[in-house]
């Protein structure tokens, strides 16, 4: 299986993902982008930027584990994962993920599974920042009132 995992501060283009994931007998490619939304923060200010921090080396190691689980569940040709660290403005993509497979259902299933697992174990943390410079750490499944 062809794999590419990067945790980086440099944005990429959807074409890079697409070109990487399509191999000779690939019949389905799926590319997901996670984009920063202008959500309302707890203090009712709007998110202007999200700042991501993380442990790159461990993140790659966790992604490798997830890739092994995916290989045992889905027939796929390739995985591409690129997550930004640092500040990402509203409307900008923070994560690009692509999967190539013979069949659509495997590509969809693998990509969905990958993102579910990323949100459980891959050490990346995000802080919402408003135009007025208020900050709010996003902590899933936790009462995040300060």
């Amino acid at each position: 299986m062809r794999k590419h995992f990067t945790i980086s501060s440099t944005p990429i283009n959807i074409n890079e993902v697409k070109q990487f994931i399509q191999l000779e007998d690939t019949g389905a490619t799926v590319v997901f982008e996670g984009i920063v939304r202008p959500d309302q923060m707890p203090n009712e200010e709007a998110v202007a930027t999200i700042e991501y921090e993380g442990l790159s080396e461990m993140a790659i190691s966790e992604l490798e584990k997830i890739a092994l689980q995916i290989q045992s569940r889905y027939e796929i040709h390739s995985i591409y994962f690129h997550h930004l660290l640092g500040k990402v403005a509203v409307g900008q993509t923070a994560v690009w993920v692509g999967v190539g497979a013979r069949h659509r259902k495997d590509a969809f299933g693998a990509l969905d599974y990958l993102m579910d697992e990323v949100k459980k174990t891959v050490p990346i943390f995000k802080k919402e920042i408003s135009q007025q410079q208020s900050e709010h750490w996003v902590v899933p499944n936790y009462n995040n009132e300060k």
């Binding site: 996670g34 991501y52 921090e53 993380g54 442990l55 080396e57 461990m58 993140a59 190691s61 997550h83 923070a94 994560v95 993102m115 990323v118 949100k119 459980k120 174990t121 891959v122 050490p123 990346i124 943390f125 995000k126 802080k127 750490w137 996003v138 902590v139 899933p140 499944n141 936790y142 009462n143 995040n144």
Partner: protein
């Protein structure tokens, strides 16, 4: 080294933990309860050597550990 919201809760990038040997991840979790800025419901993962460590993991002198709140990437 604390990560994410924990860094703000603890107010510092890193700290040293002194404990009579032997100590485990569970002991460390107990010790963290003294910090009033850490919400008691916040799950904290302890990472050593690029991997999550269970409560039973034995912490040895000089180990550099990471304290992690729930991840929120993607």
């Amino acid at each position: 080294m604390p990560f994410g919201i924990l860094k703000d809760s603890l107010g510092q990038d890193w700290f040293q933990w002194e404990h009579e040997a032997p100590a485990t991840v569970k002991d460390l979790r107990e010790w963290l309860k003294q910090f009033p800025n850490i919400h008691p419901q916040l799950p904290i993962a302890v990472v050593f050597d690029q991997a999550y460590q269970p409560d039973s993991f034995e912490i040895k002198d000089g180990m550099q550990l990471y304290l992690m709140p729930p991840v929120s990437g993607g």
